[in-house]
């Protein structure tokens, strides 16, 4: 019951004007590297949850109404520096947090978010930025009810690119750093680094690790089981 449910907390710096005791909904994060299959899972989870009678809002990185165009333009220009990138994505995050996530939680929705502050911090860290600095900037984030980390090996990610889009994306390959002389080498090294960083965050941020090497249907069933427990308040 809402009465004895512990309110959501902020990681570090409460946003001005937010009373967390009003936030009735559930915040569920799906994290993981590029191309690991997060959005497919979210699509199915949403369908399942709505079918079960829950109202769902989904949101994801770089989808903010404020910054979507600016970030896209900046990425097309190839002059986006690592510091600017980190803060631009943080602006995107804050805009969605305040205008999408929090209003939905207040209205009692289940919020499914495709990545959270973790990818954002990992990407900046992989570009040599100070992690503790960015973690403090990201202290305005709410602690989710659950964070599922879809974890895959880098070979699996490369295979997904080859058989999916068929080419390595400039940014997903970390070519702005760059990590290698060509996109394939750079992709492998950069994604390996990201996996390493996310693995390192798992304990501190209480990630529930999901083996993304399994069949999608098995991943979905595992997520279903664990999300059911979260919604029933069995797991926090």
């Amino acid at each position: 019951m809402p009465a004895n449910r512990a309110p959501l907390e902020f990681y570090g710096h409460p946003l001005p004007g937010i009373d967390t005791s009003e936030l009735q909904g559930k915040l569920i994060v799906i994290e993981g590297p590029d191309v690991v299959g997060r959005s497919t899972q979210i699509q199915q989870l949403r369908f399942w949850l709505e079918h079960s009678g829950y109202a769902v809002v989904d949101t994801g990185m770089a989808r903010s109404a404020l910054t979507m165009k600016g970030i896209q333009d900046a990425k097309n220009g190839h002059t986006l520096g690592p510091l600017t990138m980190g803060l631009f994505y943080m602006t995107d995050f804050a805009d969605r947090l305040e205008n999408v996530v929090i209003p939905a939680l207040r209205a009692g929705f289940v919020v499914l978010t495709d990545r959270y502050i973790f990818s954002l911090i990992a990407r900046a860290a992989a570009r040599g930025q100070n992690v503790r600095w960015l973690e403090e900037v990201a202290g305005i984030a709410l602690v989710p009810h659950a964070t599922f980390y879809l974890r895959a090996e880098v070979d699996d990610l490369a295979a997904r690119v080859v058989c999916g889009p068929g080419q390595f994306d400039y940014w997903e390959s970390g070519m702005d750093v760059p990590y290698g002389k060509n996109r394939c080498d750079s992709f492998v090294k950069y994604q390996t680094k990201l996996i390493e960083i996310l693995d390192g965050m798992a304990g501190h941020y209480n990630f529930k690790i999901v083996n993304a090497g399994k069949k999608p249907v098995l991943i979905f069933r595992q997520l279903q089981r664990q999300i059911t427990r979260v919604l029933q308040g069995v797991e926090k």
Partner: protein, 236 residues
């Protein structure tokens, strides 16, 4: 507590701060002319002027999409882009970088908007510490007379209309600017501002500024700073 990065480069960073109507931009422009006339390589950076970010800022302002947090973050993003693409390389190259407003503007404005003081200070801890920070102290009424007498219309965010301080835009501007003024005054000692009494005549203020520059970084200007090439020296 300011946690800026020390300036280990050949160049020097001079910044000006103060509320709207304090006359700081006029003074900085006179100072940079004087430095240029000595054949020093001078570059100039203005708050909120990144080509990459300002489109997003403009859009957010026009559509009134900002919260105090996203307003703070988009300005930090703008600052980051200017810092990593312009201010830092210019300092490395050995220029005098003159900045019209710096992180202190965010410390004053964003806190006046209700953003956490510790959070916004951390946000800018990636910035290089200025060699000289001038603060133009002016009573609110003097600044308001200069602003309201000199131009047509106050803008929504500069008047703090997002804070619901007053329905009347002039009154809102007055309350908001007085809060910013309080923040500037409170941080002045801690930040090591060189305080200029901005009610004095323009030429008196400029003389004081030049004197402080000579006293504090005169030797560096003489020995370390890059000279401008002769062929673009129009004065000679």
């Amino acid at each position: 507590m300011s946690r800026f990065a020390p300036n280990r480069y050949r160049g020097k960073l001079i910044i000006v701060e103060g509320i709207d109507g304090s006359g700081k931009s006029t003074q900085l422009s006179l100072l940079s002319q004087w430095l240029r006339s000595q054949r020093l390589a001078v570059s100039f950076s203005e708050w909120n002027s990144s080509d990459m970010v300002k489109g997003t800022t403009r859009r957010g302002k026009k559509k009134q999409m900002f919260t105090p947090t996203t307003f703070s973050l988009i300005h930090a993003t703008d600052f980051a882009d200017r810092h990593e693409r312009y201010i830092l390389p210019m300092l490395k190259a050995g220029a005098v970088v003159c900045a019209d407003r710096y992180a202190y503007t965010a410390f004053a404005r964003d806190v006046a908007r209700g953003v956490s003081r510790a959070w916004v200070r951390n946000l800018y801890s990636m910035a290089i510490k200025p060699n000289l920070a001038f603060y133009f102290r002016v009573p609110l009424d003097v600044a308001l007379d200069r602003i309201l007498g000199g131009r047509a219309a106050l803008k929504y965010y500069e008047a703090g209309m997002d804070l619901d301080l007053s329905q009347n835009i002039v009154e809102s501007f007055r309350i908001f600017q007085s809060r910013i003024l309080e923040e500037y005054e409170a941080m002045s000692g801690e930040m090591g501002f060189h305080v200029i009494d901005a009610t004095q005549s323009i030429e008196t203020q400029q003389q004081q500024m030049r004197q402080i520059v000579m006293d504090r970084i005169g030797a560096a200007l003489e020995n370390d700073i890059l000279r401008s090439p002769l062929e673009i020296d129009r004065a000679g």
